[in-house]
């Protein structure tokens, strides 16, 4: 996988945080879905984000990636302030997957990943029409890079399948490949193992380790506690839009407040996993 390592390895200037979010608040009318949440992600770290259903995890991701414009708060990536515009966020180096898979269903797996390359390539209309050498080269490179990434996530053989016809687990991995294609420094994964069987979950966790090893920082939202505690360096627990606990897996696991929060929302939780 050396090729991939090269493609997505980042050269960080120093060991400053990759992401620094402070005081992020999102209100929908009367409802405060995310309330004054701060989060710091260090280089090469896997950070877990847990919390009962409706805690505001996905909403927090949406705020980070500019899908929502946070009511208050500030997001800094690699020391630069991020405007709440999805495209700017991706360009700056943060990519995400979606809880409810949002692939381009009628495109092939390869094309999906190639779309991820969009923001790192530059052929414009005229070059595309005239098909000069630059266009050909870029097109070839895009295709090769996309294929590499598919192989990296273990979908090398499915490149010509339409995304909508792929099995659930493959779709989740395809979303990760598509996100990686944007050359992020930080990857946000929203419930990457939802709906997976134990074997697939194991594979997913291996994949996330490999992504981390190639130099990215990763933030993972999950409900599967075993998965999270085994995977993450640090865990943040969100309840009712606020940070309840932050610490190592061990600390969070044994914190009585976390257990209480989960027992309180246990009934919902099972529904959510179904």
């Amino acid at each position: 996988m050396t090729a991939v390592d090269e493609t997505i390895r980042t050269d960080r200037p120093d060991d400053g945080p990759v992401l620094e979010a402070t005081g992020v608040t999102m209100r929908f009318g009367g409802l405060t879905a995310v309330n004054n949440v701060g989060m710091t992600v260090r280089p090469g770290e896997i950070l877990g984000l847990i919390g009962p259903n409706g805690a505001g995890k996905t909403t927090f991701f949406n705020c980070l990636t500019g899908m929502y414009k946070p009511t208050e708060g500030r997001v800094r990536l690699l020391g630069n302030d991020l405007p709440p515009k999805p495209r700017a966020v991706v360009m700056a180096g943060m990519a995400r997957t979606f809880q409810n898979i949002r692939l381009f269903g009628n495109m092939t797996a390869l094309e999906n990943v190639m779309v991820g390359r969009y923001c790192r390539t530059s052929s414009m209309a005229l070059t595309s029409i005239l098909r000069g050498p630059k266009f050909r080269r870029e097109e070839r490179e895009t295709r090769a890079r996309a294929q590499e990434l598919l192989e990296f996530v273990g979908l090398g053989k499915s490149s010509e399948h339409l995304a909508r016809n792929m099995p659930y687990g493959d779709q989740r991995r395809l979303e990760i490949a598509r996100a990686l294609a944007t050359e992020p420094k930080l990857l946000l994964l929203d419930e990457p193992t939802a709906g997976m069987n134990p074997r697939e979950t194991q594979q997913a966790s291996d994949l996330i380790f490999r992504i981390r090893d190639s130099g990215l920082a990763v933030v993972v939202i999950e409900h599967d506690m075993r998965f999270i505690f085994n995977l993450c360096d640090r865990v943040l627990c969100l309840v009712n839009g606020q940070v309840l606990v932050e610490g190592t897996p061990g600390e969070v696991q044994s914190d009585p407040r976390v257990i209480e929060a989960y027992i309180g929302g246990a009934a919902d939780d099972e529904e959510g996993d179904a």
């Binding site: 929908f28 996905t58 949406n62 899908m67 929502y68 979606f98």
Partner: protein, 307 residues
Amino acid sequence: MTDLLQQLVNGLTLGSLYALIAVGYTVVYGIVQLINFAHGEVFMIGAFGALATWTLLFQGTTALWVLPIMILGAVVASVTVAVVMERIAYRPLRGAPRLAPLITAIGISVALQEAVRLFYPGAKSKIPFPQIDVVTGPALSFAGVTVQRAAVFTVGALLMSAALLWWFVNHTRTGHGMQAVSEDKDTARLMGVNVDRIIVIAFALGAFLAAIAGVAQGLLNANVDFRMGFLAGLKAFTAAVLGGIGNIQGAVVGGLVLGVAEALAVGFIPGQFGGSAWKDVWAFALLIIVLVFRPQGILGARVVDRA
């Protein structure tokens, strides 16, 4: 001052007409999120239904008692067309990509116009609409402001229809069912609401009001034309959007606002770009501006796309 009042009166008349048609767009949209592009044609069919009733049964009569029967004829024609259209064209497309129903609607619209043009005797050009005692005839005049009798009928029809509609939606079981379906179709279905039936009723309800508008238009203009549905439909859709599509009160308010705005534009925009030549342009410009800058309309609610 008289000028302004006169334009207001004209505007309210036109607006009432728009409002009556607009309700049809809004009711259907509220329930199936479908822009029934062919609704303007339902309005046109209503006018022809009334005309046909009169020609077949009362040719030559102008007595007022004929009017309710003409309206009945209009309603039967419109509602039949609307319900059949829902059943055979739209229902099979539920769940199809959104492009499909819109193109179907265009097809229906063209087909209905052509069907009337080809098969209604004499419809290739305008046909005179019967003038009925009391509701047409010499215009009334109040302090220098002329008011057509048909205009009084139109505004009256809107008031009565709006009141009836309000009662129907808020005080009948079916009305509650409609509200439930427009809130959340799946939940409504689970709660035992027959969604298909509600959708048909929505179409019928819209057609009912459009039919009345068709009669009103006939009386106002003294003639009907197979093309009358296109522009009126588009204007009414503007009205529905203006008021917040899906919102019934909104449609009424939107219709009146649009009518008045149009009348004022005709009367008060100075220079070359004023006057009736440009009034439709201003109406469409208003439509674009509302869709772009306030798609939720005056009274509607904004829908947020969830990631």
